[in-house]
């Protein structure tokens, strides 16, 4: 699986309250959730994500309240992958269950700048920075986690593999 695109860059400790504000928790339609993605962090996010579909951030991405909507809203807003120095563990789990690739790489997190074009080769554990002509390595996700992501999330994966 290869994901290629431009980057929106954010800092450390991006918490789930700014990814998906608590005042919208009653929303159940994922497309409607997407309309509020990153609303309290970056009011231009929905405009940016039209052409930049990969988020690169610092440490502890997705910390705070365990709301699953944080991963869901980013997915339906059109984000195709998130690269971070580290992820809060509940967000990491929720993202995979939603079929969102999450990649931990300190080197990539530090070196990639906003607007860079990158290519993530998930099963080989390589990120190519096409804008800077550089490469970063990361530990690839295990095969079965890759299958969950490729099938579009945990529910779809098990529906498919058990039928």
């Amino acid at each position: 699986m290869i994901i290629k695109g431009k980057v929106i860059k954010y800092g450390d400790d991006i918490n789930t309250d700014v990814i998906f504000p608590g005042r919208y928790l009653a929303i159940t339609d994922p497309k409607e959730m997407a309309e509020h993605a990153m609303e309290d962090l970056d009011k231009d996010f929905l405009e940016k994500v039209k052409e930049k579909r990969i988020i690169v951030a610092g440490k502890n991405f997705g910390c705070g309240s365990s709301r699953e909507q944080a991963a869901t809203c980013l997915k339906y807003a059109g984000v195709e992958a998130i690269v971070a120095k580290s992820f809060a563990r509940i967000f990491f789990r929720n993202a995979i269950n939603q079929g969102m690739p999450v990649i931990e790489s300190a080197e990539a997190s530090e070196d990639i700048d906003d607007g860079d074009e990158i290519e993530i080769i998930l099963d080989r554990g390589v990120i190519k920075n096409l804008s800077k002509g550089k490469e970063y390595n990361f530990k690839p996700l295990p095969a079965f986690i890759m299958e969950i992501i490729e099938d579009g999330g945990l529910v779809n994966h098990l529906k498919k593999s058990i039928k």
Binding site: S66, E68, R89, R93, N94, N97, P142
Partner: protein
Amino acid sequence: MGSTIIEKILEKASGKKVAPGDKVWAKIDLVAMRDFGGPNVILKYEKEFDDEPVFDPEKIAITFDLHIPPRQIKEAENQKICREFARKKGVKLFDINHGIGQHTLLENGLVKPYDVIIGTDSHMNLLGVAEAFSTGVGITDIVTAMRYGKLWFRVPETVKININGKPGEFVTPKDVILHLVGYFGADGLSYKSVEFYGDFIENLGLDGRITIASMVTEMDGKIGFMIPNAEVINFLKEKTGKEIKPISPDKDAEYIESYDFDISNLEPMISCPHSPDNVKAVREVEGKEIDQVFIGSCTNGRIEDLRIAAKILKGKRVKARTIITPSTTEVAKQALREGLIEVFLESGAVVTNPSCALCTIGHPGVLAKGDVTLSTSNRNYPGKIGKGGEIYLVSPATAAASAINGRITDPRDMR
């Protein structure tokens, strides 16, 4: 290399040798949900799977423990969604007359060593007292596990914590775990499995073990295990009707860290606003005036907790308004038989029906702005039981002593 307790459980559940950091599929022995969270799970289940059957109705339990009996129409409707689903799918339902979910699961023989249990509650992990691996997870996780009976986990690293020594009178397991929460901090055991050892743990009964295991969450730990002693084995045997074989780690199991605590001279401890790891000795804050006291919760609502509170309250009147909530109906009945309920009522306390009670804002007894409360619960974040209220976390002994004086009081002064 040998295996720790969590590794042994996940090896049995996944059918293969595991190491920390591995991600594995594990079969699920019990899926639990509550009146809060449960309705969202059910609505999502019906959306994803329509009328498809659950993987095993015997392995799904709904426990009502938060809004019981319901006060608001929304809560009543949520409980109705759960009841209808339980009837349709034939899954177990523990209605408004039981009490706190995890304790109800234990008392109904649904928990034993090697079980993998998931639920919609961040304190599911207290079931580590039965050497079950139990953890709170997201809605997608619950829904999928309910249909297919399996879920993926990352195998945690294991930390060993030895607790030795015999603390003095009115220094309780709550003081021990508050001391540890203060030592490790709010994220000090992040995603770690903890194994507790030492003579203090070996001599501790089920109730004290529950207190300690429940607050592993407040250090961001995944789960805390204690190898069952005779008392715990007998309890589990009686409730499950099965032979109970405790899990022992292998001699060459690998621990990433090991800690030793001698609690012989430990004092009563208190967690100050607004974070559980803001821990001090009660002596450092004694004398502060309080408005309310709550004794109960999944951390401190067991019979031993009520006994020590009654010992201090007997023959006295409370100055601060006091709410006491047994964790389950079984505990409440025992307290009634022992005369503890009468002691509480004579002291001027309010005794409520078994439930989670004042662990969240959705329950009678919420705080007015500026109110100060002492609680035997496990969290004191701002707004937890009322905007502008201050929550101090303490043992049932400190709570009872302070209720009498209307001020934060070291329970050793009541001897």
